[in-house]
Amino acid sequence: MSEDSINRVKRRDFLKLVGAGSVGVGAGAVVSQVSRNPTELLIPYPVPPEEYMPGVDTWYNTLCQGCSARCGVSVRVREGRVKKIEGNPSHPVSRGGLCARGQAGVHTLYHPDRLTGPMKRLDGKLTQVSWDLVLSHLAHEFRQVLATERGPGVAIVTGSARGHLHQLMQEFLRTLGSSRLITYRIDAQHNLHAANLRSFGARATPYYDIANTPYLLSFGADFLTGWLSPVHYSQAFGDMRQGDGPRGYFVQVEPRMSLAAANADRWLATRPGSEAWLALAICHQLLEDGVYDGPDRNQWVERVADYSPARAVEPTGLGADQIVQLAHDFAAGPGLAIIGGGALHGTNGLLAATAVNLMNYLVGSFDRPGGVLANSPPLFGPEAAYSESPYAGLREIVEAARQGRLEAVILHDVNPLYSAPPELGLREALESVPLVISMSELLDESSEVARFVLPLDSYLEAWGDDSPESGVGFPTASLAQPVARRIHNTKSAGDFLIELAHRLGDDIEEALPWRDFQDFLKARWDEIYRTRAGSLEGFDAFWTATLQAGVWGERSAALGAPNTVMIPAALDDLGHPDPQFSGRRAEYPYTLHPYLSPVFHDGRWAHLPWLQELPDPISGVVYTNWIEIHPQTAELLGVRTRDVVEISSPAGSIKLPVLVYPAIHPDVVAIPMGQGHHRYGRYASGRGANPIEIIASRIDEDSGDLAWAATRVQLKPTGERIDFVTTSGNPRPLGRQILGPADGGHG
């Protein structure tokens, strides 16, 4: 499967690419020149790149930054202006497809509220200053830090830095003597990585071959919108459904029907956090049925001895027969089990994930088409994702700040004051830090505590690269190039760090000798070229070819050889499957189930108008968010859709309008993340509320990762109403043969 994943280049798209315009490599050559605002000029290039021709499209291949999947995209540029982003058909991750977020990416470049230049906080107010002033000022401060040996007190928190940008940051910190580089995003799949590390002893996320699986059992993994690599796995889903092989059957287990569940053949509403129990019970049943007879069988038998389906009935809320049936179907498949979403972010997330690995292992779904395929580790990029939990890093920062051990924090393309639970106390911590630099594309919540707000390039203006974390079964690396000239006085993080290093001078400058980030990238890719792709004649040929294709893949290379036998110790000392929650049931009767909005994901692109105007796939609501409650809960509280309720948890409270949701477990209330920005451009500010604000800062003790699905809440009707807008008229088809001749019956 992974083989043809790259062979399945859509020829038609390829024709489009070469036909409708030339494939360009050159926009980067001139992005450095900042003159008049190019939006005023007909032809915004003093020196146009060679492939530039008025009236003719130029296609640049680069990388989407909408989520951590990093799809390869082809950007249509005309007269130097970005017109449209489409999936890069020759990229193994996106394979020509692209999600709504990726489409909307154009507006990260043209957003009306983007920062137009660096800003410094002068007596409380942010005021525009020049880059030169910023750099000299920062150089001065850092020199003082270094002079007083307080280098370790410098930290960088990044939301998106991957690939060599991440390495550059490490380099930079290392020269300062610090190792505090944290990649924080609420949607990080740390528990999954950790579980895989535990299970296989290798830093590699396996490739889940959804496309060819006859039976897919998903524990809360909404792989269609928010899990690992949405576009790639959406495509796989399509092939599973109507590919060449027989149609795969798909069961989704989760307390609230997500988009994936809506597309599943069967949706099982379990108690929140009981996925670990269910997985273990299924393993128990599988072993009982003698599905697995490997040498290590007995070790497993004893490890799951306590988790018989019968005992799983109470915690999961499913019938024993249902669980047994699931086990049978899973064995018969043989099935593929995946886990994500709330199931992965409970207090028992690591255990659940490991148990799911075990399920796959027991039915022999390893290294088999339609199963869990071995994957090579990323060619480069953050290894932290596997070892250390991002949230743990954040907590460490807070701790250090409390003890006054922090000198400077650089927030790069991250908005922790929005995306981390306030209970963590990050705001206070950052306020106590002498120097906080926020690098972002527009003013956000976090820039409120920053002394310097530095405008970042849009990803369409910057260089970058990445090696897909989730992987596609073989080593690949993609290059991101600027596709349009800068329209504001912005910088890319890489260029900024290098320039800063140069200002700092002496040994730091020596450690980062490169002219700019592009220079640095070339140097790094030169290594890849020498070690791996010697076949091509000359690095420049390699570089150009990669830029044009947007991706370099080593298909010939033997797959990385991770240990695809489960380590029996994987399950040890993982605590008990019973989920822990903040808030006593008596006081807080409902479990809060925050989920990544199918549209906004974690909300980093909530400022894009096209996304605000994209009706939520399930509710059809635009421009706000809501709280989903079960009809009988609504009856209990005496509220109807659009009535505002106050949602209080031990960590805080927010107000949201109710959406009576027919497909959610009665014990659960669900809130989509991504909205509720206080300050994030004209389109996102003041819309809905942010569920993260009431999430308790509770962690999965085993992995240290944030357990954002482990908070209980209570609901109080406020009597107010918020007339949110849904594009759905009547939610029922009324037997009108709309969904097909067959729907007349139950429609």
């Binding site: 449209k84 982003i85 507006h107 009306p112 069967r266 049936q325 027919p662 043969q737």
Partner: protein
């Protein structure tokens, strides 16, 4: 002059020929596989990006004045816990017997040589009758002249008109892309179009490849083949509009066999 016993379809076939142009070169159509469609909405945004659809703002949504040439309709079936949610992308069906075309007093909407249901903005006087006559409700009216916040207008697609107030608009199957490909084919010494060479924005972006676009006149095209799938049906077929969009209904496996 017309044989009354001849079926409407037959009459249509007759009249598919003459126009300003000599003959219908293509019969563009789409096949939408609901078993692949996940309702994610990528196509909706792709359409908005390609066709200069305005950013209308929340108030217009509340008024029911959104501009989405392509929308995802969602329908709930059953009750908890056996509740189902179904999606169906709804866009202009480019009917062969389009009610919207007959009602337009000024020929602003008609059938062009590609077999497309075309909306000619500069002819439209805004009677909105076509929107009333369209049973699929996929025609959208410009209640105002929309503006883009600077510098969002930099993104506007130069191949697509920006519509003014008082004009009706709708899905065009990305006619600008069809033109572009046809021109290219002509330049390359009139080679025939390749199947799948033309792709509307929605089809192009669809992550699950639920949408297929092609020429129904070409029996070898992917759409022509899929049309014969036994899941194939057309929405509101009994209204006899003979749409150019074929849906493949979603498979509902018997749950007995599975947990």
């Amino acid at each position: 002059m017309e044989n009354p016993h001849k079926s409407l379809k037959a009459k249509w076939e007759e009249n598919r020929r003459p126009g300003y142009y000599q003959e219908y070169e293509n019969h563009w159509g789409m096949v939408i596989d609901l078993d692949r469609c996940t309702g994610c909405g990528a196509c909706v945004t792709a359409c908005q990006a390609e066709n200069n659809l305005p950013i209308v703002g929340e108030e217009n949504f509340r008024e029911g004045r959104e501009m989405k040439w392509l929308r995802i309709e969602r329908y709930w079936e059953g009750e908890y816990p056996d509740v189902k949610l179904r999606f169906i992308p709804m866009l202009c069906q480019h009917c062969d017997q389009a009610p919207c075309e007959t009602v337009c007093p000024v020929y602003a909407t008609y059938h062009n040589q590609d077999g497309l249901n075309i909306q000619t903005y500069n002819r439209c006087i805004g009677t909105r009758s076509c929107a009333v006559y369209c049973p699929y409700e996929v025609r959208y009216f410009n209640w105002e002249t929309h503006v883009w916040d600077e510098p969002l207008e930099q993104q506007l697609n130069p191949d697509v008109t920006v519509r003014e107030k008082g004009v009706m608009e709708k899905c065009t199957f990305c006619v600008q892309r069809i033109r572009k490909v046809k021109d290219r084919a002509r330049d390359e010494d009139n080679r025939p179009l390749l199947d799948g060479e033309v792709q509307p924005a929605c089809v192009q972006s669809c992550p699950t490849e639920a949408l297929t676009f092609g020429d129904f006149n070409d029996p070898e095209s992917a759409v022509s083949k899929k049309k014969h799938n036994d899941r194939a049906y057309k929405v509101l077929e009994d209204l006899n509009t003979s749409p150019s969009i074929v849906y493949l209904s979603r498979v509902e496996p018997e749950d007995e066999s599975h947990g």
